[in-house]
């Protein structure tokens, strides 16, 4: 038994050495190119495969991003949920209910409501070390021009809830093809992007919303 243990450890060590290192080059390149995006507009289809539902539910949406930190994210056609980010503040709007809520960025990661779109923060990271600090890379694979990346946030609260974030991007254009959140209970929320337009001029009024007649609450106070 005493002899077996070192042998077993040796075998395990070799097995570890034998594992193929991940090719991170496409990821590094993709992250590096994030800086080139002054603006991004895209349509998407969000598909939620929830464990408690017999079949997935899908909903169309639209996303608009402009540097440094302007974001508009709409879900539903017509939009049932709109999120507008301006700097450090988020505005969550539910047009059908005529309700809106201001949420400070500091609440991201604390409030269940804010966490959902915190996952879709653009850009994901400023550079590769920043990306590495925020996410653990679980897997990388490339097929043709499509790179599949599986990551997990290092944030403990997010890890409690998530088992993986799956991102597919085009290695030539660095455009995101899909973004999927997989939760620990086996449910998933996948966004398939289409009609991606990069660095087009965006009317800043997109990031404004007329709240007249809305019941507005403010979580910043």
């Amino acid at each position: 038994m005493r002899l077996l243990l070192p042998l077993l450890l040796l075998a395990l060590a070799h097995a570890n050495q034998a594992a193929e290192p991940m090719d991170l080059a496409p990821v590094k390149k993709w992250i590096a190119r994030q800086d080139e995006f002054r603006s991004v507009q895209a349509d998407f289809t969000q598909t939620r495969a929830l464990r408690a539902l017999r079949s997935p539910v899908a909903s169309p949406g639209r996303i608009t991003f402009a540097v440094p930190s302007l974001l508009r994210w709409e879900l539903g056609e017509p939009a049932k949920t709109i999120v507008i980010r301006k700097g450090k503040d988020y505005l969550l709007i539910q047009p059908s209910k005529k309700k809106a809520e201001h949420i400070p960025a500091s609440n991201i990661g604390q409030e269940g409501g804010a966490k959902g779109f915190a996952m879709m923060e653009f850009p994901l990271a400023t550079d590769f070390p920043d990306f590495n600090r925020k996410f653990e890379i679980l897997a990388v694979s490339t097929e043709g021009t499509r790179c599949h990346l599986e990551i997990l946030p290092r944030d403990a609260q997010a890890r409690k809830f998530l088992s993986a974030l799956k991102i597919d991007f085009d290695t030539r254009t660095s455009h995101m093809i899909s973004f999927e959140m997989v939760t620990r209970d086996g449910s998933s929320m996948r966004n398939e992007f289409s009609n991606v337009r990069v660095n087009e001029k965006i009317d800043r009024r997109v990031f404004e919303f007329d709240l007249t007649g809305y019941d507005v609450t403010d979580a910043r106070n």
Binding site: L50, K115, G116, F161
Partner: protein, 790 residues
């Protein structure tokens, strides 16, 4: 002769039985609130909180690692390893019980819904009628499609009728900001370890802690993982252990110092051995008396050993000194000594007993212990030590003068001593002028041990996991649920008003989870018919596109209501998950019900808030708030006690001296000693706190003896200062050395307050002795216009 011998044997046996019985009952109380005045609202509230919400058998193990995965794995490994030690551990909890079994939360949800106002519950029942079921489920599906909140999506997936949505408006479903188990970054985790059996005493706790630490070390955790141990058992083991060590070490070192002093003065071994034996006997008898007649020893009471030995030895010195020149019988020697010893022992004991005038129970206990010890010491020295001294009596041999006596024979030494003492006084007074009075520190820090692994781990826990330093705890008590509910509603309204006025940043009371018997009584008839509707409701869920598992929670909630149908309200949830959640929110038992809450005040409003909420059965407390209250109350109380004691002393010395000048000199000397003590404290950067304020009282009781003795000697010797100094030099040297040793040795006590008390007293006594011996005679000469001594 055999009769006398038999009497001694009987006395020995009786004493041995007394000591054995008393010491076996000794126990330590590590609760620092036991040192503080119980009538203060903050002390009362915090004591209630600790009594009902502190978990006496629950150890908190902190696990810290460089990354969250290592920390999580280490916590799980350690929890599993400790959980296997079934002889030691009842259970270990490393994650919330509902993480392991989410279905357990259905009982809590059923309880919260049952507790809601009847109109809300009627709305629920309405949503589940055959006409509304489809619309309710459709609304849920839309939310599952559109919601951006993962929390809402996760909950609705398993709550298709959105029963929990009813609780949203009460704030019950808002996400908890803090976890009991993990820091936000996951690198700091906590395991709760419950002991298999309640602890019998502190030794049992110490042994258990050692075993737990041994098993933790055997768990083979990565080297980068750091463990900490806190919680009630860790505190008891930590502080009781150090208390035991403080008591033993200070007592033993005092005995050694006294032995050295005795040897330096008399160079005789047998009397020294007997004196030491007497001191040990006095210590044991006092400790036994404490065990039999007083409640648990507090950290301050521990200091009694060294102080008592340091003071009792004075009577031994006195008896031995008298015996050296004694030519008569033992009874005659005892007769000669009894008056002096009785006078000094009574006055010293009286001052220590006067500490009962203080409302600080810790000080009262110290006073009682030393008071008892001093009286026992006087009796032991007179009845046992006096006969022993005569056994080695060698009257034919003239005793040579001791080194100290020879020193005081030298005029040059007296002159030099006076100049050096004057220089010391000038230095201390200058320090006082330059640096000012010592600062006042009434923070809870002075109540804590200086070194404690349990406190270090607690500080870390507060820094990483539960930062409650600025929070106030709301404690609401009552005779029954309804009593507490009424008070909770009043407190909740007051806090909401305070929040509207900007005095409170946020607050959370137990009101949303406290059982409301009237609501429960009204809601059960509305909810119970749903039991018969379960098959229909389940089918509707399936038809809407959900899987069967989506209905499990609804089914469990409805079933739980039917379980409670036979139970008279108020109903409490009782399963493991509910008990875990409620253990820090609500407490029941012994005819007392308590509810806990947390208030985050805006800076500067703490006092007003505490005062406005303070009422029958309601307290708003925190350790910081306690410090503020003590700062308000204690100094005034000490001033009161000191004024009373000073008055008593002035009457006594006036009767004793029968001279206004002597009384004046006594007052000036005592005043100068206290001012110099303040200067010395400033010089060494010491602060005034609850405990060393008592040093002033103790100095009045012990230190003033030196000036009184000197003044009496001056009167006896017709104002001949050198003669008075020669007469008392040895006695005062012996007394101050032993008393300062007694107090000085507790300066290394682990309890900061006790250590400070010891150091302050030791310094005060030395200053008192120097001023009394060297400056007071000079002042007498100046005042009486006599010639200066050569």
């Amino acid at each position: 002769m055999p009769g006398i011998r038999l009497g001694w044997i009987a006395l020995g046996v009786a004493l041995a039985m007394f000591v054995a019985a008393g010491i076996s009952r000794i126990s330590f109380n590590v609760d620092i609130l036991k040192l503080l005045p119980t009538h203060l609202p903050q002390v009362e509230g915090l004591s209630l909180f600790l009594k009902h919400f502190a978990q006496p058998n629950e150890l908190i193990v902190t696990v810290e690692a460089p990354d969250s995965d290592t920390a999580e794995a280490a916590a799980d490994t350690l929890a599993a390893h400790l959980g296997k030690q079934t002889a030691l551990v009842k259970r270990t909890v490393a994650r919330a019980p509902w993480e392991k079994n989410p279905a357990d939360l259905s009982e809590l949800l059923a309880f919260l819904l049952l507790n809601q106002p009847p109109e809300k519950v009627r709305e629920i029942a309405e949503r589940l009628t055959p006409e509304k079921t489809a619309a309710t489920l459709q609304e849920t599906l839309e939310k599952l499609t559109d919601s951006i909140s993962p929390q809402e999506v996760a909950l609705l997936s398993y709550d298709p009728y959105n029963l929990a949505g009813t609780l949203a408006s009460s704030g019950l479903m808002s996400g908890a900001q803090q976890s009991e188990f993990s820091s936000a970054d996951g690198t700091f985790r906590v395991i709760y370890v419950e002991a298999a059996q309640p602890f019998k005493n502190y030794k049992d706790t110490i042994a258990w802690m050692e075993e737990i630490k041994r098993h933790a070390a055997e768990a083979q955790l990565p080297a980068s993982v750091r463990l900490g141990f806190t919680g009630e058992p860790a505190f008891v083991a930590d502080i009781s252990g150090s208390m035991e060590w403080d008591m033993q070490s200070s007592g033993i070192v005092t005995l050694l110092i006294i032995a050295l002093i005795f040897w330096a003065c008399y160079r005789r071994l047998r009397p020294l051995r007997d004196l030491q034996a007497m001191l040990v006997l006095i210590f044991l008898l006092t400790l036994a008396a404490a065990g039999l007649f007083l409640s648990q020893l507090t950290v301050i009471g521990v200091g009694c050993a060294a102080i008592m030995i340091g003071l009792s030895v004075d009577y031994g010195y006195f008896v031995y000194q008298r015996s050296l020149g004694h030519r008569g019988t033992v009874r005659e020697l005892q007769k000669q000594c009894v008056q002096n010893i009785a006078w000094t022992a009574t006055s010293t004991a009286a001052v220590f007993f006067a500490l009962n005038l203080s409302s600080l129970p810790g000080l009262s206990q110290l006073g009682n212990l030393v008071g008892i010890g001093v009286v026992i010491g006087a009796v032991v020295m007179l009845t046992i030590f006096a006969p022993l001294t005569m056994r080695f009596h060698r009257p034919e041999i003239a005793r040579p003068l001791s080194f100290i006596e020879r020193l005081f024979e030298s005029p040059r030494f007296l002159r030099t001593g006076a100049w050096l003492t004057l220089a010391l006084v000038v230095l201390l007074l200058s320090t006082l002028v330059v640096k000012g009075l010592p600062e006042v520190d009434f923070s809870a820090r002075t109540l804590r041990p200086r070194k404690s692994e349990a406190y270090t781990a607690l500080d870390r826990l507060q820094a990483r996991l539960i930062n409650d330093r600025d929070l106030l705890s709301l404690v609401v008590s009552g005779r029954d649920e309804n009593d507490v509910l009424t008070r909770l509603r009043v407190a909740d309204t007051k806090l909401a008003d305070a929040k509207a006025r900007g005095e409170v940043a946020s607050f959370r009371t137990a009101l949303p989870v406290w059982p409301v018997a009237d609501n429960q009584r009204a809601n059960l008839p509305t909810l119970l018919p749903l039991l018969a509707e379960l098959p229909r409701l389940k089918q509707a869920v399936f038809d809407a596109g959900f899987k069967d598992e989506a209905f499990a929670l609804t089914e469990a909630i409805v079933n739980q209501w039917s379980v409670w149908a036979a139970q008279p309200p108020p109903i409490w949830p009782a399963n493991e998950a509910s008990r875990w959640i409620f253990r820090r929110i609500a407490s029941r038992g012994d005819g007392q019900f308590l509810a806990m809450g947390m208030v985050q005040p805006n800076a500067g409003h703490e006092d007003a808030l505490a005062a406005s909420l303070q009422g029958q059965g309601v307290w708003l407390v925190s350790w910081n708030q306690l410090g503020r209250e003590l700062r308000r109350v204690i100094p005034a109380e000490f001033v009161r006690v000191i004024v009373v004691l000073t008055g008593i002393f002035l009457v006594i010395v006036s009767v004793g001296f029968r001279s206004i000048r002597a009384v004046g000199l006594f007052v000036v000397t005592t005043g100068l000693v206290l001012v110099c003590l303040a200067g010395a404290m400033s010089l060494f950067g010491m602060t005034w706190n609850f405990f060393n304020l008592a040093a002033l009282l103790l100095l009045l009781g012990t230190g003033t003896d030196y000036s009184i003795l000197l003044l009496l000697a001056l009167q006896r010797n017709g104002g001949d200062a050198p003669a008075a100094q020669r007469e008392l030099s040895l006695v005062i040297c012996l007394c101050v050395s032993s008393a300062a040793a007694g107090f000085g040795t507790i300066s290394w006590a682990n309890h900061a307050g006790l250590a400070n008390l010891g150091l302050t007293c030791a310094m005060g006594l030395l200053i008192d002795a120097l001023i009394s011996l060297f400056l007071l005679p000079r002042a007498w000469m100046l005042l009486h216009g006599k010639k200066q001594p050569a």
